[in-house]
Amino acid sequence: MRLLVSACAMAVLALSAGASEPAGVADAMILSDGLPRSLADYRFFRDGAGWQPNERVTPYSLNTPLFTDYAEKYRFIYVPEGQQAKANGDGMLDFPVGSALIKSFGYEIDGKPRLLETRVLLHRADGWLALPYVWNEEQTEAVLKVAGARIPVSFTDPSGKQRAISYAVPNKNQCKECHALSDAVVPIGPKARNLTHDGQLADFARLGLIDRNPEVDYRVPVWGEASAPLNDRARGYLDVNCAHCHNAGGSASNSGLFLTYEEDMPVRIGINKRPVAAGRGSGTHDFDIAPGDPQGSIMIYRLNSLDPGISMPEVGRSIVHDEGVALLSQWIAEME
């Protein structure tokens, strides 16, 4: 979080000092039909280390973020000069062609931030493209790794526990697995309902990044906000962590388990729903959610597993998210 604050400060600096700076973001790289080899080719950052956002590259954060092995994430939106994203109720912001979403992943190691990878989502004329860039040991350059990578990393999690994992950088196809909606790549994070904290949407509107500050009737609670209704927190967590695949047009469409914030049919969110193709993911349980019985629910069983044949989500998790499991377990336990 501290790192994020410094990133924000730099962005403000960037916006105020923009005019005297040299080249802005390389729009041609976003719009080309190639696969730029180095992250620096886009000029999203002024520095080689990927911390100082360039002009019009705006940091943002989510109310409830996707869990990725406790990695710190640094997110940025880029919308080209003279254009705006359109707010769309409490749903996904509608970004014009030429926009980019940039997300760096790292850990604080020995008191120093260390970036592992930066993923970019480029809005090209023929649709969105997702590409992963992996940082070198010296933290001076991130290069394209279409086939992904595994990086051994040790860090201390927020509860103080020491962790050693094989961090997985997704390959280009795995990027699409989560970002696919009816076979097209789309953004996942920047839904208005998940951007409401600390007046962020108003700031976006004021900066001209979005066309207006939208009315959000049903916001996703801020992660850790214990005063928010349990159901909202649980459904928000499912929306952010699961619904990009578990929706009617997503990678898990065949499961019939739909975990979007909008879904209101109990069997579709898993209540007394039998598994379709879970295999040993069922863990001998009959239902995705057995009301009142988290330990007898497939959902909790799979979130608690690290076995690739069982664990959910399928991509991006090699640690159990204890806090997420606790939230959903409480939600199911209190369900009648």
Partner: protein, 397 residues
């Protein structure tokens, strides 16, 4: 800037190019080299896998249309996933017009090969195997096309799946033929699909040989028009090792061909023998469900001209032993629960009906009765053969 643009142009995805062969050999960094080849391949390309064992640490995936992935043979080129750390399957295909042929997948942590929304997919001479044999912690499906139109599974071998060896789900226009399924829970399963021909296969030593199911609360349901013919379905008596909770965990051990809650199924010209519970079982979906769009009954099932061997000598369902004694040592080879509509049995063997009237009614309320089967065998064929696009057939000629 200019240099970057040149690089970008060189890597351009949409530039027209002549189809090429990208050779990938086993050895160091197999994961990255093979995955990169699958990503950078262009339509028309062949990714040629060399002979030997590829030791892989993550799932592989292909999302480029029109690519052929070809090995040196299902016993020569082996993709070994024993050390897999991530992904729900060994290989995932999400693009159209893909041909997979002449290689093996071994010991993947989840499914073997899954193709989702992948139209016109061909699986040819592929082997998917869990090498320790039947085990509840084996992956669920070996060959797993789902949500696809035009599926050809030809001359594959599947061994050890903890769910189904060849599982085609929520798809249309399907042929499964010339394949071997052994030591799986279900050998071959067609589920919630429309239009399938399953023929010239051997299903042996599974828990159940061939299943045709339609299940509730699934995006695509109303399974119909499936023909199961010219198969050898023998000795499917491997004790059920599916994890509880899955539908196949309820398949009785010793099942030949099972039809559950489905429209329009024809089972004919098969050789079905040595299945301890029964050769053919026709039933409703029995678990509770309240899906208003779901038909739990078998409707329009025609069974004819099959050759029956011994069956029903070890019925693995509640009350089976009593029935076996009542029938003098073996229950009839064909069993129906009585809830179906338009069930025509043309085979000249005894048929047992359980006399149930409602889907989900408990077996304790069954009123088993014997009927003689058809004295005049008939040809009940009404469904038309499945025809696949010519390019798919050409790919396996």
């Amino acid at each position: 800037m200019i240099r970057s643009l040149l690089v970008a142009t060189a890597l351009c995805l949409s530039a027209p190019a002549l189809a090429k062969t990208i050779a990938v050999a086993p050895g160091e960094d197999a994961q990255e080299r093979l995955q990169e080849a699958l990503i950078l391949a262009e339509p028309g390309d062949v990714v040629a896998l060399g002979a030997g064992r590829f030791d892989l640490v993550d799932g592989l995936s292909l999302d480029v249309d029109g690519v052929t992935v070809r090995g040196d043979g299902m016993d020569q080129t082996v993709l070994n996933f024993a050390g897999q750390l991530g992904a729900g399957e060994g290989l995932l295909v999400t693009s159209d017009n893909v041909i997979l042929r002449d290689f093996a997948i071994e010991d993947s942590k989840g499914d073997g090969i899954k193709s989702k929304g992948a139209d016109n997919i061909v699986y040819y001479k592929i082997r998917v195997e869990w090498t320790r044999g039947p085990h509840p912690e084996n992956g669920a499906y070996a060959i797993y096309p789902v949500e696809s139109s035009n599926v050809l599974v030809d001359s594959v071998t599947t061994i050890g799946s903890s769910d189904a060896g060849i599982y085609v789900g929520q798809s249309e226009n399907i042929i499964v033929r010339n394949s071997v399924a052994k030591y799986n829970v279900a050998g071959i399963e067609i589920e919630n699909s429309i239009g399938a021909d399953v023929y010239n296969n051997i299903a042996v030593n599974n828990t159940g040989g061939i299943l045709v199911f339609d299940l509730p609360n699934i995006p695509k349901q109303g399974g119909r028009n499936v023909r199961v013919f010219d198969n050898i379905v023998v000795d499917n008596n491997t004790p059920n090792f599916a994890p509880e909770g899955n539908i196949v965990a309820s398949v009785p051990t010793g099942m030949g061909i099972m039809v559950m809650s489905h429209y329009e199924v024809e089972v004919f010209d098969n050789i079905i023998a040595e299945n301890g519970t029964g050769n053919i079982l026709i039933v409703s979906y029995t678990k509770g469900q309240n899906d208003p769009n779901y038909n739990p009954k078998p409707i329009g099932v025609r069974v004819f001209e099959n050759q029956h061997g011994r069956a029903g000598y070890k019925p693995a369902f509640p009350g089976g032993d009593l029935l076996k004694a009542a029938f003098g040592g073996a229950i009839p080879p064909i069993i129906e629960d009585g809830t179906g509509e338009n069930i025509l049995i043309g085979d000249d063997v005894p048929v047992m009906t359980l006399g149930l009237t409602t889907p989900g009614q408990p077996l304790t309320e069954a009123k088993p009765a014997l009927s003689a089967g058809a004295s005049e065998p008939f040809d009940g064929g009404q469904l038309k053969p499945v025809v696949l696009p010519e390019a798919m057939e050409a790919a396996v000629r």
